[in-house]
Symmetry: C2
Subunit: 197 residues, 2 copies
């Protein structure tokens, strides 16, 4: 294709990333090569560092560069609140929102009998341990509002019932959302959860 | 965000690539970290190699790993035909089609008075030199079928008029194309260029 094995190989690996296909990988690689000092060099260097240092936090499952992530190390975040999320990307989304001051527990997916994903695979036993060990008083279930997320949230709620206060994120109209573009389920949930003014 | 400077920096640089935004860059980086041996390691290594070796062919403008690209080095491709394309990605697209057996000339864009891109910036003088030096008998203009591409093709055609046979890619219905999804311009061009059966 480009008549260079290395460039072809780079395109081929880039095309395996989520959100990229062969065509966008080619475009990305051409841009990288053209902006070598700005993109290709720094990318190669940073990837090398991250490949060496990135690791999962042994406590919460967040991805960082130490055995215990910055959130789990931060004593000010021992608020007794624990937010359960499906994925590291959800934890990062919560952090970008900047409103939650407690700690997290990444379960890494949803329960699925079909795919053989049970409570053990989702580190739910470890969640139970943490609640006792860390003196957690409230667990906020921030799983995705999908069928799988809701099923998993139900399971966790049953498991923790008497040991801790439980809550989940409110459902309703997103900020800036237009009714005309929302599905019926969301509108129904927003109506049922309506608030007096 | 991820509470790791290196990971945040990697996401930030990835988000600058065409076709990726902050969200897809985060997803891509998480996937890379999870598939370290398959993605992050090989990517870092290949990028380092490409950053060191990638270069523009001094003759045609193709991107490869040597001063003269494999196509310009291949004596079998000295057919007297020269295909003029806007961009390296267009050259690669032609090569994937695998039907053109001659050599290329990448002009690197289109003429634009507004952006100050004149014949010099598009290596058109070098195109003229090559035609004499390499004994080119036919120049195939394979510029994009956009207004800018057509304008540039006209300019090149005027410039080369008496020195060489000129042609351009045929316009018409793409293979597998459905009339209902084609614009009027394409249908019109296909009708005007209709062929007797």
């Amino acid at each position: 294709m480009s008549n260079s094995n290395d460039i072809d190989r780079l395109i081929e690996i880039m095309a395996r990333l989520p959100g990229l296909g062969p065509r966008s990988a080619r475009r990305a690689v051409l841009t990288m090569i053209r902006k070598r000092a700005l993109l290709l060099g720094p990318l190669a260097e940073t990837m090398q560092t991250v490949a060496r240092t990135a690791r999962e936090c042994l406590t919460c499952g967040n991805i960082g560069t130490s055995e215990t992530c910055a959130i789990c190390r931060d004593e000010r975040r021992a608020t007794g609140e624990l937010c359960v999320v499906e994925d590291v990307s959800d934890l990062w989304a919560m952090e970008r929102a900047g409103v939650f001051k407690g700690r997290y527990h990444v379960i890494g997916g949803t329960l699925s009998a079909l795919d053989g994903i049970g409570p053990e695979e989702l580190s739910l036993p470890r969640l139970k341990d943490r609640i006792e060990a860390e003196g957690i008083t409230e667990v906020i279930l921030a799983l995705n509002a999908t069928v799988e997320g809701l099923t998993t949230a139900h399971y966790i709620a049953d498991m923790l019932e008497d040991s801790v206060r439980l809550s989940s994120l409110a459902q309703g109209v997103p900020i800036g959302g237009e009714l005309d573009y929302l599905d019926e389920g969301t509108i129904g949930a927003a109506l049922r959860a309506r608030k007096p003014l």
